[in-house]
Symmetry: C2
Subunit: 247 residues, 2 copies
């Protein structure tokens, strides 16, 4: 028996998120089916991040156990032949049998993309949030500085059932403008439910002048969800990578 780790990329547009659920097709389910077909076994992967409906990934991680003779690093190529074109495994390899993608320490990186121009762009409608009013990126950067570091992010969390602590560390939170697209790049040791999207929504409120940059510190200290901005829509969010210290 071998434990295989997959690095998974997907366009989340057509899916009800990662995690299997009764109504609607999910990414986890499609990967399970593809691996089961490939191996002839009944495969159920364990995912690192249960991304929401419409959210994308370039580097989500999943593991599964198999008796298959397919060499671990060849699984990526093999499974892509049976996956639909909106899901791809970009890397595969063997990990120790007790390695778990959610319990192993990791650094997660996300991108949130805002199309900041008056008119819509049909080519970017599925991977950006279209914000038609002008945004002051310098003010957004000032606000972002308050969020960097170790904080209790309770104000930036939709639901916190089952979470022991709402303290997380953001290692970096950078904003860049690439033509009409503002890219928020955020790296941390873990993220609460909807945390990146609430941060994006709040930074947009700063950019349009609804909050001053300093108010973001107050929002953080309030530890109340209702104080922060709206949850930004899912299609702007991409799980870029999950880096593990070992393996």
């Amino acid at each position: 028996m071998k434990r295989i780790r997959l690095t998974v990329a997907y366009d989340g547009t057509a899916y009800c998120g990662w995690q299997i659920q009764p109504n609607g097709i999910t990414i986890e389910e499609v990967i399970n089916r593809a691996l089961s077909r490939l191996t002839g076994e009944d495969i159920a992967v364990i995912g690192a991040s249960r991304t929401d409906a419409g959210v994308h990934a370039r580097g989500n991680v999943a593991v599964f156990d198999t008796m298959s003779a397919i060499p671990p690093e060849r699984f990526a190529y093999a499974v892509n032949t049976v996956l639909p074109e909106d899901i791809a495994v970009v890397k595969s390899g063997e990990v120790p049998g007790n390695w778990h993608p959610r319990y192993a320490e990791s650094v997660k990186s996300y991108e949130y993309r805002i199309l900041n121009q008056e008119m819509p762009d049909p080519l970017r409608r599925k991977d950006t949030w279209h914000v038609s009013f002008p945004l002051d990126i310098d003010k957004m950067r000032q606000a972002a500085a308050y969020l960097t570091g170790e904080h209790d992010f309770r104000s930036f969390c939709s639901i916190h059932t089952g979470v022991k602590s709402t303290v997380r560390t953001i290692f970096s939170l950078d904003l860049d403008r690439e033509d009409a697209v503002i890219v928020i790049r955020i790296k941390g040791n873990g993220f609460l439910y909807n945390m990146v999207r609430i941060i994006a929504g709040t930074l947009v409120d700063v950019g349009r002048g609804f909050y001053s940059p300093g108010e973001v510190r107050d929002i953080l200290e309030a530890k109340e969800r209702k104080r922060a901005g709206a949850t930004a829509p899912p299609q702007g969010l991409i799980l870029s990578s999950i880096e593990y210290g070992r393996n």
Copy 2:
């Protein structure tokens, strides 16, 4: 009666190209329907570029005549409310009644995007050509230099019925690498049928070593379609803009 010019952006994935045809839905048709619904008139636009199935645009141009009281520059906003989200009018304005988007002199700019990495990226499958073998961008640039300027591009044209001359001028042809994506940017006074896609296919053949850069000059001089590389797939192509000298 006013003649209105529209600048049109679209994701071409779902359409059988620009031009109305008996089988399958086209962009021209969807725009005609939206404008007819908006004005209560029977509108038929004249397009500048009849892009192929799967080809995208950020700046195609179309005109139509109307008695509508909608101010010319407000048509963009009005028609977007009745267009599907994969087509958008990004600008509108009045032009003289005899102005024609195909007969007026113009500079057309295209981008062709190549995703050059071993593994696929589901998020770029609809706006790039995935080329998994390594490409030598320096050799592609050397080859591109032979194509710049005024030449007979007969070797880079699929069909030339109805075209008086196959001589065209390429003002610039630049290649850039942006992460894993090679972007070919090409600007000219006009393009023959499939010309940009055949140039892209030929440059990829240079990048992988099938042709030397100097052979592209020979291909150009041969004036035979079969000498050039394959027509690159449509989804990598974007009509970026059409600039007119006046109006």
